[in-house]
């Protein structure tokens, strides 16, 4: 047999072997067996040196053809096998996409913080700054400077928490001490009026305390958001327009807002603000106790007596003040039946908002 015949035989054998390779590893074994450094084709070619110069070109041509043919066949087979392997892998890696996702849940803001933040954002948009102050306050800032009469029931120890005064001073106020837990954040307003010249546009959110037993609608510790504006030419219409805007921002543009005259010692004229009930749309239901309205804040024009305490000229400046309870607003907005949820730190409550 000639070398050429050997080559043709080898080509045929190799083609069979390539076709028979069942995976990429077997194919590689075939490749090495024929085309590798010690492979069959290689050893045939190594024998070329023994051929005559006349025979060499023809045999060389054939052997190149065989090599190319084998390489092409191997590539083709490899492509087929790779594709099959990929298909198999894809099949094997299929998952049940309905299984839960993997994550580290981010934490949540307390609903009260979130409510305060939303309201702060509305007011900063209207040009207000946020003012803060201590929870433990002086009677003067919490009551006296706010025009609260000395015998006002709110000043009694049954309504207000008093704190032991360690100066040893005797005091003549309703509690045994003139140090107390603020019952409103208005002391912040008084402090601001003392230290800042008008114009003043501030919002003062913060914790306040009143001696109510914790029940579904009361907490002895809750969160008040109060505002104060003092400038030249501030009117009751400005107060009304501001609160109408704010209430619609909080509760939605479709809600109606009304101001109802009321009485507070530190504002005159004073009003309570009602928002139309979101549950019944104003027709009357359980939530609004049949009235169609929800009372959400108190407000009024700053009483000239309060200006007197802080040395602002009431003939030149006028202003308004308002206050609302964050717990009540959150409870109304999210229909929370019991305010005690806010203080209980139950993860199942906290994670909802």
């Amino acid at each position: 047999m000639s070398i050429v015949d050997d080559l043709q035989q080898l080509r045929a054998d190799a083609a069979t072997a390539i076709a028979g390779a069942e995976d990429l590893a077997q194919l590689d074994v075939v490749r090495v067996a024929y085309l590798g450094k010690k492979g069959s084709l290689t050893s045939v070619l190594r024998g070329l040196g023994a051929l005559s110069a006349e025979e060499r070109p023809a045999v060389g041509k054939v052997s190149n053809e065989v090599r190319q043919a084998l390489e092409a066949a191997i590539d083709l087979r490899r492509a087929d096998l790779s594709s099959a392997a990929l298909d198999a892998r894809v099949l094997a890696e299929a998952v049940d996409v309905t299984l839960p996702g993997r994550r580290r849940a981010p934490g949540t803001s307390h609903l009260i913080t979130r409510t305060v933040d939303e309201i702060v954002e509305i007011f900063t948009g209207l040009g207000y700054k946020v003012a803060e102050g201590p929870d433990v306050e002086l009677d003067y800032y919490n009551f006296t400077a706010l025009n609260t009469p000395a015998d006002h029931p709110a000043r009694t120890p049954s309504d207000t928490f008093y704190v032991r005064d360690l100066t040893g001073e005797a005091t003549a106020v309703a509690g045994e001490s003139d140090v107390l837990l603020r019952t409103q954040t208005s002391p912040v307003q008084v402090r601001t009026m003392e230290s800042t010249k008008p114009p003043i546009y501030i919002l003062s959110p913060g914790k306040v305390y009143r001696r109510d037993i914790a029940d579904p609608s009361h907490l002895p510790q809750f969160t008040q958001i109060e505002g104060l504006v003092i400038d030249e030419g501030i009117t009751f219409g400005d107060l009304k327009g501001t609160l109408e805007h704010v209430c619609r921002e909080i509760f939605g543009p479709e809600r109606k807002v009304r101001l109802r005259p009321h009485f507070f010692p530190f504002t005159e004229p004073s009003a309570e603000v009602d928002v139309s009930c979101g549950m019944c749309g104003g027709g009357g239901c359980r939530m609004c106790k049949g009235s169609g309205w929800l009372e959400i804040l108190g407000c009024g024009m700053v009483d000239p007596n309060v200006f007197g305490y802080v040395g602002i000229d009431p003939e030149r400046y006028s202003g308004f003040a308002f206050g609302m309870g964050a717990e009540r607003i959150a409870a109304l907005k999210y229909d929370i039946p019991d305010l005690r949820h806010f203080i209980e730190s139950d993860m199942r409550f906290l994670r909802q908002f």
Partner: protein, 810 residues
């Protein structure tokens, strides 16, 4: 304050339907808390007109009538009564009505004749005693009108919230005046002039006031020969509509006049003050030391020295304005009555009623303030009613001790101020009209035009709340209607809103804690005094906890000095409810004080608590229990978000933390708080299950150290080379120390160091540990050669082993 609509309508012609009146009162500052329909409504009983009356074909005693009840067709009703004729008006119960005796009217056949209702007797309706026949109504009774309305049975009672500045509305007449002002209808003020006879009062009664500040006025009348008995129905009904019980004609009259006019009255049995027909000498004074009085509820009251009393020469006979004395009370055998109508100082009455825990309709009115100029008229009215209903005679004259007459107040009201404060454009006529309707007297004073005008306003003494111009402006807007003021926004120039940097940074800290997986909690600001011992807290030198004088409970008697107990309680509460994965943070204040301080120190802290896992083991893999390093990881995220690089922790014990798993947190070299796992004993004390990892940092130093913006760091352009080294050191050498030695030895070529393994056990001698670090070398301006890296790393190894006394692990 309860107000019967029926009574109100006697005093002011309200033609509004009740719901509209309620709205109007709400919107003018007299909030209606509730509306209650009272009385026997007798729904379904109407006024009928008997058109025909014919004998029943099969029954001699029955009549077949046709009755017009205002419906389209007359009803045929079979009736057994004999006392009527065709043409009479009678009450008719239509089909479906249930009568007070329980009988329900149905369509029926009576001896074969259809009957569609019932003509009623007074007894059947429960309105009288005559059962013998039909109740024949006057000929002008309107056909079809509900009988309860026609017979005046039904009433609507409004429950009003009267604000503390409006004592004038604590009476039906006062409310009528207010209703008149807001509806524009005239209201009347009831009054009577007594028919006097017999000996003048002057010889029988004297009154002296010791301190006119406490009792500006005291009036009294004497009614002789009274017969105590039950009240007539109208009087009983009226006092009942105000929520009082009918007791006797005399008591009911004093209550009636109080409810009607707002002036509390008191009736004494004259014989108990002036026995044997002598003279009653009344002195109004404060209590003397040791004085006592048995009040008419039978209680013996020890009287504090500033208690205002009504006394006779033998001692106290009543607590002024609060409660009468037992001994001088009107009884069934009382014959002569001394009637008191006085004005007392609101603060004095308030103190007495609070001190004794006695709150009455009278004390409530005195506390708010009664009109001193109304005492005599109320006294007259009650005296006349007593004479009229109790059969007595009013002695001529009134005792009136009124040392200093209180004049009406005069105020100036500038129109420019009215419109300036309100942001409205009201004219003089509107403003003057409102004030006049409220009972004030207005004269146009100086100034011209609607803006220049200054009104002179005289305020009667029944409105003590109207003291200043601003008070009048409030009245104007209240009655004008707040809804009629145009809404505007403040137009002030030159204001800038927004948060200040500290507030923004605090918000950033909260956001970082949430991103780290923590949920915000708000716990009590209060603390249990026992918490000090439970957690082993030690206050700094001279520091004391902040004590509440009147806590809600002993467990909340202090202001919290740390958030730790609150957070551990929150963890325990969750665990008790089966929620074991708890990740909480709180941003809130803690307090402490010192001897000699008035206001305590108040500092804000950032704190947190972790228990359980990040997520319960799911279908994928199991989550490890959270421990110290999860807490430290949270703080790492926090510090990174705040842009604080110079922070570290070092081992430090805290009594409430488990030793060896507790640390102090330092920022810029200063201790700002602590971090660690709660001590098992503390967990036991709060019934929490560990491990619970907690931290508490002062907010101020963190907010102060925070950076607003990090400068840009160039992205490396040249490749890095990573080399690992494991070094065996003694257990006492902390990782931070080795890491610092590496960093300092690495020079500029060492970009970063990361600890990736801590190993103890086989191959490492006992008492030692192997720390494996991955070191990254990189040239800022060139690709490092192998030789450069090798030489730098050799230097690191040499210096670090020498510095920490360790050796490379083979």
């Amino acid at each position: 304050m309860l107000v019967s609509m029926k009574w109100l309508r006697e005093l002011v012609a309200v033609d509004l339907p009740v719901p509209e009146l309620v709205d109007l009162l709400d919107m003018t500052g007299t909030k209606v808390e509730a509306v209650e329909v009272t009385g026997n409504a007798l729904e379904g009983v109407v006024v009928g007109h008997i058109l025909t009356k014919d004998r029943h074909p099969d029954a001699e005693t029955l009549w077949v009538t046709t009755v017009d009840v205002g419906a389209a067709e007359p009803l045929q009703i079979v009736c057994g009564a004999q006392n009527f004729d065709a043409g009479d008006k009678v009450p008719v119960a239509v089909v479906g009505t249930t009568l007070p005796n329980g009988m329900t009217i149905k369509k029926a056949k009576l001896r074969g004749v259809a009957s569609e209702g019932m003509n009623c007797s007074a007894t059947e309706l429960g309105v009288g005693g005559d059962a013998s026949g039909l109740l024949i109504l006057p000929a002008d009774a309107p056909v079809g009108e509900p009988f309860s309305l026609y017979w005046d049975l039904a009433d609507t009672v409004l429950e009003l919230e009267i604000t503390p500045n409006r004592p004038d509305c604590l009476s039906v007449a006062g409310v009528a005046r207010e209703v008149g002002a807001v509806t524009g209808k005239p209201a009347s003020w009831p009054g009577s002039t007594p028919d006097e006879s017999g000996a003048p009062v002057a010889g029988s009664v004297t009154v002296r006031i010791d301190d006119p500040d406490l009792c500006p006025r005291y009036t009294a009348r004497l009614i002789r020969g009274v017969k105590i008995g039950p009240s007539p129905e109208w009087l009983a009904r009226k006092v009942a509509s105000c929520g009082a019980r009918s007791i006797s004609n005399i008591v009911d009259i004093t209550n009636y006049v109080m409810f009607e006019l707002g002036q509390p009255l008191h009736a004494f049995d004259l014989a108990t003050i002036a026995p044997g027909g002598g003279r009653a000498d009344i002195t109004v004074r404060t209590a003397k030391p040791g004085e006592r009085l048995t009040t008419l509820d039978g209680a013996v009251r020890q009287l504090a020295e500033d208690t205002l009393l009504i006394t006779d020469p033998t001692g106290p006979i009543a607590l002024a304005g609060v409660m009468g004395g037992d001994a001088t009370e009107v009884t069934d055998s009382t014959v002569d009555i001394l009637l008191e109508s006085a004005c007392f100082d609101p603060a004095s009455i308030s103190r007495t009623s609070r001190r004794l825990g006695l709150f009455s309709e009278a004390s409530q009115r005195f506390e708010r303030g009664v009109d001193p100029n109304g005492c005599a008229a109320a006294c007259d009215r009650a005296a006349q009613l007593i004479a009229q209903l109790g059969g007595g005679t009013v002695a001529p004259g009134i005792v009136d001790t009124y040392p200093e007459i209180v004049p009406p107040r005069k105020l100036a009201l500038r129109m420019v101020r009215v419109n300036g404060i309100l942001g409205a454009d009201l004219d003089v006529g509107t403003v003057a009209g409102i004030l006049t309707r409220l009972g004030l007297t207005v004269t146009t004073g100086s100034g011209d035009g609607d803006d220049g005008a200054v009104l002179s306003v005289t305020v009667p003494t029944f409105r003590p709340d109207l003291e200043r111009e601003i008070d009048l402006i409030e009245e104007v807007v209240r009655v004008h209607g707040m809804e009629n003021v145009p809404s505007t926004l403040p137009g002030g120039r030159g204001r800038i809103g927004g948060l200040i940097p500290q507030q923004r940074r605090r918000a950033r800290a909260g956001a970082a804690l949430r991103a780290a997986g923590l949920n915000e909690a708000i716990t009590w600001s209060f603390s249990d005094p026992a918490d000090v011992e439970r957690i082993g807290w030690t206050f700094g030198p001279g520091e004391l906890p902040v004590e509440l004088l009147n806590p809600m409970s002993e467990e909340q008697a202090l202001m919290r000095f740390t958030t730790l107990p609150g957070l551990v309680r929150a963890v325990a509460n969750n665990q008790r409810k089966g929620v074991v994965d708890v990740h909480l943070y709180e941003i809130g204040s803690v307090w402490w004080t010192a001897e000699g301080r008035k206001l305590p120190k108040e500092r804000e802290v950032l704190s947190g608590a972790l228990a359980g896992s990040w997520d319960r083991p799911g279908w994928l893999d199991t989550e490890p229990m959270l421990d110290f390093f999860d807490g430290k990881g949270v703080l790492t995220s926090l510090m990174e978000a705040m842009g604080i690089e110079r922070w570290r922790v070092h081992a430090a014990d805290r009594a409430w933390l488990q030793a060896g798993r507790s640390a102090e947190v330092l920022v810029g070299g200063d201790v700002v708080g602590w971090l660690g796992e709660v001590h098992p004993k503390v967990l036991d004390a709060y019934e929490a299950t560990g491990p619970v990892t907690v931290f508490e940092l002062f907010a101020a130093p963190i907010i102060k150290a925070a950076r607003e913006a990090q400068p840009f760091a160039d992205i490396p352009r040249h490749p890095s080379v990573k080399v690992d080294m494991a070094i065996v050191v003694g257990e006492d050498i902390v990782a931070e120390r080795v890491e610092r030695a590496i960093t300092s030895a690495g020079g500029t070529l060492l970009e970063s160091v990361r600890l990736f393994d801590v190993y103890r056990g086989k191959g490492v001698e006992a008492g030692k540990k192997s720390l494996a670090f991955s070191l990254t070398y990189r040239g800022e301006d060139r690709t490092l050669t192998d030789e450069e890296v090798a030489s730098a790393h050799d230097k690191v190894v040499r210096k670090v082993t020498a510095a920490v006394g360790g050796e490379l692990r083979g």
